[in-house]
Symmetry: C2
Subunit: 590 residues, 2 copies
């Protein structure tokens, strides 16, 4: 019976920690052997972690990865391991080693190298030009890496049509953004059906600076659909029996797919045929695929990504505890609640830093929140420090100190206090600003922007409310007090200040930001969505003019398809009248 | 007589300001026409500015550039203009439009796209696949763009060997780093001689965030050497008569170069032959090439790059004045002197912010420096504010406040004061930290790192002294007082502190940093240079462990071949035991 047991090791790697990553790979391999897997596949570059960025420019690093894979190979037996690593050869390659019985049987090199969004793979890697197909018993196995299956016409097609592959592995390190998991599953299904081939997709899990890898590894069978799916946002070993009978029956009816057929001219791949020892597939204990959990909705997956991203940044950078400045607003409340969920109340300290402009409701909300969450709350009034600045700043210049300056001074006093606590106690300062503020520059450099990790920097304000509500629903009570959720947003840096003094209402602002920043739409296109010329101009001008602030912002979890991070590379110095650019350049009036 | 008059417009563009860039192109074109040029060439992407980064992902932006080039074409006459622009077609291309008599005659698309260092061109552009050769009178002209001539086997060879080109234009936007100009000239000479062809190289000039473009446009003749060179670090129109007789004589002796010969198999380019109107080269007034100034030495070119970079960041971001915190040390003195040189003493304010740890010599040095430079000096003691912080920080935590924390508090008070002045008066805060400090993390986030432009962030401390000495020599007296140059470096954040309490002496540190950061050498290789294992480990650990600080640092002028900017993309979260990586991974002891 043409049946094969496939294990997918959805693991979390640490960048550069080859020894521990290797140990983990070997451990998963042994687990897979114990449950009777014929093949166990690991994520893209799981030996080095992903993305290693400019570490890949160090020859000694890539050499260590290449040597490391040989050491892993020596620990393999009859079960085949397919492991992603950085390969030093004539060039550096993003490769997958196929190993068994102590040896590297063959190496596949990634063919399609993404060089857009957060990806810089053409900076580091040469493109693979050869396909591999492995013969195991009477099953033919192909290997692809991440991007290779994101577009038609790639190695999967060549391995199926030219090499007769029936089962294709895809080793991925595909970062999370909202909605991407659902898109990925459509893509995997499409490639599997078009192949046709069984497609076993193993994704990385974990966090790396601004990126979260959300797992969700799965196996799609062209005739049977998704036959196994791993959980998301956590490590897992997914094991599944794959029955190739329905695929073979279907192929027999379509002779063009018959084993050994050559593909159309121009697509003929160089195929390595490797005869691996025939293993006995019969009499093996049946392995149940992991139970498939229901799909997360958008807010749930954002919530999970935030938790994982925070935990990972902390553990990978050696932080045990966090400190958060509480304002009495929703952002700092949400960040505090997330931190408690992520690392426990005992590891979270909140700091309330009232000024002369702080309202009674802020104070009571902060206290209530801290009590609900069970976290320590320090109260450090900033008035004394603020007065010292006012007295120290020179009157000799002949100017009075405008409100705007003093607003920033207050924000920076708070930043300094949080950093002092961080320096003294080793706590990670969590920045609480959201994407709406960061887009518009409605935030103070070295003030509320000061800290090590900006957890919700890629979450629009309107989404922050939704995640807050989700956390309350989940808890079954208002751990984030309704006072906080229902009050009008304010920075409380002057008397009776409201965000809407400076910004459009968030319900108007966020869709425009989403269209401009995330979707990359033009001013014209956004106006055609029904937004006023004045609103569009105001928003785009603010976004374009505040690049200098974002350039100095800490990293935070990427949530949208375009975060202010590696996937947003905008010049600071530039012409500032860009919104209606095309019109102006065309000599038309604005 | 086979002679042609070539003009090279070494111009400065502003990113995204297509209207003003266009106007400037047309202005240079008309100047070139007035002096009798047959051809005038402009830098790579001079219509959009370079590098436009993710603006190139906006279809409306690339469309505006493509439309803009058509409008420029309409203003051309008999003189040929060759202008770099971003071209929207089936893909986006980094292109050069060849224009005359109101029309675009043909377009050449850059073939080699750099995707290393600061360059991300494969993120934005499709690669050109066709060469163009133009027939003008009896002269054949080829066109290349920047990277196209950086490696052998490129379009220049195809245009010469396959298309009979005798004169090759190269449109460049090649950013400065120390020593690169000399390297470029060798490269240009090599390509020209190997062609053989006259190579007219036009480089951009100006500053763009961290990059400075240093000009130095030139024409190299394979028989006559460099026949014309433009000044560096400023705009210029270089005009030169090019006599092709010696080239033709030489080619006649080597029949393989005879016009119309086909090249070797595999190199045969697709060549467009375009017959342009024959223009009368005779009877034209002779044009003198610009006088070639002597080559700048390394410190001189760094000095010029710093001035240009600062001026450009200010003018392109709308700053008229700067503010600098003076410590009494060499870095802040140098930055102040550079600022005065760049924008004039009347536009520079220095701020001296003494604490209880500030020495008398710092106070007197700061005063002397300010007097020498003729700048305004504000003195704002931080003691009162510092005490207010000490009193406000909670004793309730049961910890005393360690020195290290209070050191940072002081630095951040100074940062807050400078930012308050910036917010109030619109002054750009210049950060005074150098590369040695930034590499080692010997600097305070939101403290001495706070500001808009970190002028000398890519200058090692030992180089800072050299530039300071250069400025004194240039001035003919010690505008930077000898006290400042000769005292031992100190941060003065606690009693009797010296940099060497924390760092190795700069004479030892800087070569190790240069080897590790700039040259990308491994720990092993650096030890083989003669540095101790302990020193190498200490330096590399500090560099690797302080990525989080650098990620929040402001931009500053790139001086070395590898600055902490777009050409240094390192993960923050990573295994921190990397120095002897290869050894450890290989199972060897450290």
């Amino acid at each position: 019976m043409p049946e094969i047991v496939v294990a997918l090791a959805q693991m979390n790697s640490t960048i550069g920690d080859l020894d521990n990553n290797s140990a983990k790979i070997v451990d998963y391999y042994q687990q897979a052997v114990r449950v009777g897997a014929d093949i166990v596949a690991f994520p893209e570059l799981c030996l080095t972690g992903y993305p290693p960025e400019d570490l890949l420019l160090k020859p000694e690093f890539v050499r260590a990865s290449t040597e490391g894979i040989s050491r892993i190979a020596r620990q393999t037996g009859d079960t085949i391991a397919v492991v992603g690593f950085a390969e030093a050869d004539s060039d550096t390659f993003n490769s997958a080693a196929v190993m068994s019985r102590g040896k590297i049987v063959c190496i596949y090199r990634k063919t399609f190298l993404p060089n857009y969004g957060v990806f810089d793979e053409k900076r580091y890697f040469g493109a693979g030009k050869k396909n591999v197909v492995l013969q195991i018993g009477d099953v033919r196995l192909g290997v692809t890496i991440c991007e290779d299956i994101w577009f038609p016409g790639g190695p999967l097609e060549a391995q199926v049509a030219g090499g007769g592959a029936e089962l294709i592995l895809n080793l991925s390190a595909s970062p999370f953004n909202r909605g991407k998991h659902a898109y990925r599953r459509k893509l995997i299904a499409a490639r599997s059906i078009d192949g046709p081939a069984v497609l076993a997709y193993v994704n990385m899990v974990g966090g790396q600076d601004e990126l979260v890898f959300d797992g969700g590894s799965c196996i799609h069978h062209p005739q049977l659909g998704f036959i196994a799916t791993a959980p998301r946002f956590r490590e897992a070993l997914l094991v599944s029996q794959v029955d190739l009978t329905p695929l073979r029956r279907a192929r027999a009816l379509e002779p063009r797919y018959r084993h050994g057929d050559s593909v159309r001219a121009g697509e003929n791949p160089q195929v390595f045929m490797l005869e691996l020892p025939v293993k006995g597939f019969n009499g093996r204990q049946s392995v149940q695929p992991a139970a498939q959990s229901r799909e997360l909705d958008q807010i749930e997956e954002i919530f999970e990504a935030l938790l994982l991203g925070l935990r990972q940044y902390m553990s990978k950078n050696g932080f045990l505890k966090v400190v958060i400045g509480l304002s009495g607003g929703v952002d700092s409340a949400l960040v505090s609640a997330l931190a408690v969920e992520a690392v426990g109340a005992e590891n979270v300290t909140c700091v309330f830093m009232p000024s002369r402009y702080t309202s009674e409701i802020s104070a009571s909300s902060a206290k209530k929140l801290a009590a609900n969450l069970g976290v320590g709350l320090l109260t450090i009034p900033i008035e004394k420090i603020f007065l010292a600045y006012r007295e120290s700043l020179p009157e000799s210049t002949g100017h009075s100190w405008a409100d705007h300056t003093l607003e920033n001074v207050q924000a920076r006093i708070r930043g300094n206090i949080l950093m002092a606590l961080s320096n003294r106690f080793g706590w990670l300062v969590l920045v609480t600003g959201n994407k709406s503020e960061l887009s518009m520059g409605y935030c103070t450099l070295y003030g509320d922007m000061a800290g090590g990790f900006a957890l919700i920097k890629d979450l629009f304000k309107t989404q922050a409310y939704k995640v807050a509500e989700h956390m309350n629903n989940r808890a079954g009570n208002d751990i984030i007090p309704r006072d906080i959720i229902e009050r009008k947003p304010t920075a409380e840096l002057r008397e009776d200040q409201l965000d809407t003094d400076t910004l459009p209402p968030y319900e108007e602002l966020d869709p425009v930001l989403e269209a401009y920043v995330e979707e990359g739409m033009s001013a014209q296109e956004i106006m055609e969505m029904g937004f006023s010329r004045e609103l569009v101009r105001r928003v785009i001008s603010a976004v374009d003019g505040n690049e200098y602030k974002r350039r100095q912002a800490p990293v935070g979890v990427k949530i949208t398809s375009r975060a202010f991070g590696r996937d947003w590379r905008m010049p600071i110095s530039k012409y500032q009248g860009m919104p209606f650019y095309g019109k102006r350049a065309a000599g038309l009036s604005e």
